[in-house]
């Protein structure tokens, strides 16, 4: 009887958290992808390039730095899966989708800022990734991943 209670406490909570995280994490990811697709369609008219200038000659009237960033984290369930994946090796899909979402979100925020400021294109786009260390476990854990997208917004003479 005692053993059953002890086992329940030891395993019950992590399993409960895993189940909870599975549902919330999936819901969060799905709604995030939905919002990304909608906003990507909306900002499709804003050309962006990693090159230094727009390929066709433009008469530029204004330029300025634009940036977008996001800090994103995995849910408990996916982190658990990724941990298992660490045993056998191979593609860690849960992290792939996390980074994909974060990059697209950062680029979208950059584009949205560019159009708010009246720019017509963003050139010299750069992406940077950094890990935020968690204050638990002597900074070994990951609190989240920050993606920064930045570039130079250009305004075209009309």
């Amino acid at each position: 009887m005692d053993l059953a209670v002890q086992l329940g406490l030891e395993w019950g909570l992590p399993i409960l958290l895993l189940v909870l995280a599975y549902f919330t994490g999936t819901a969060v990811e799905r709604s995030h992808y939905r919002s990304i697709r909608v906003r990507e369609a909306r900002t499709r008219r804003m050309p962006t390039t990693t090159g230094r200038r727009v390929p066709t000659p433009w008469r530029v009237t204004d330029a300025g730095l634009v940036a977008g960033s996001v800090v994103i984290s995995l849910d408990y369930f996916k982190r658990f899966l990724a941990g298992l994946r660490g045993l056998v090796g191979g593609r860690v899909k849960s992290y792939e989708s996390l980074l994909d979402r974060a990059r697209r979100e950062a680029l979208l925020r950059m584009k949205e800022q560019a159009s708010e400021r009246g720019f017509d294109a963003v050139v010299n786009v750069r992406l940077e990734t950094s890990r935020l260390a968690s204050s638990q476990r002597q900074g070994k854990g990951t609190a989240g991943v920050e993606i920064l997208a930045f570039g130079t917004g250009l305004k075209r003479a009309s």
């Binding site: 530029v60 330029a63 996001v70 984290s73 408990y76 050139v123 260390a133 989240g144």
Partner: protein, 104 residues
């Protein structure tokens, strides 16, 4: 102050060159935000508190860089770059640097 991460400000001519200017700030997250982020770490998704914190901090680093550029007589900073490093547990340094110039 014009800022750009290209070598020149498109549509403008560089008249004077002043060299590298830098700006940085080290920020630690406060405990309330950390707790919220801990919860968010369970369910997954964006850690808005951190996004805001880093956004503000980066703005501060850019401002300091621009201030330095202004103090030496520049009116633009080109080739702006950013770097982030976790210097200590729960603290990060945000660093912005670029080349101060005068454009017309």
């Amino acid at each position: 102050m014009l800022l750009s991460n290209t070598e020149e400000i498109p549509g403008q001519q560089i008249r004077e060159f002043y060299g590298v200017v830098t700006g940085s700030t080290v920020r630690a997250k406060h405990i309330g935000r950390d707790l919220m982020a801990g919860l968010k770490n369970l369910v997954g998704g964006e850690l808005k508190g951190y996004t805001e914190l880093l956004h503000e901090a980066r703005g501060e680093a850019i401002d300091r860089m621009a201030e330095q550029a202004r103090s030496i007589g520049a009116n633009a900073v080109v080739n702006v770059r950013f770097s982030t490093s976790s210097v200590a547990q729960g603290a990060a340094e945000l660093f912005a640097y670029g080349t101060a110039v005068r454009v017309e």
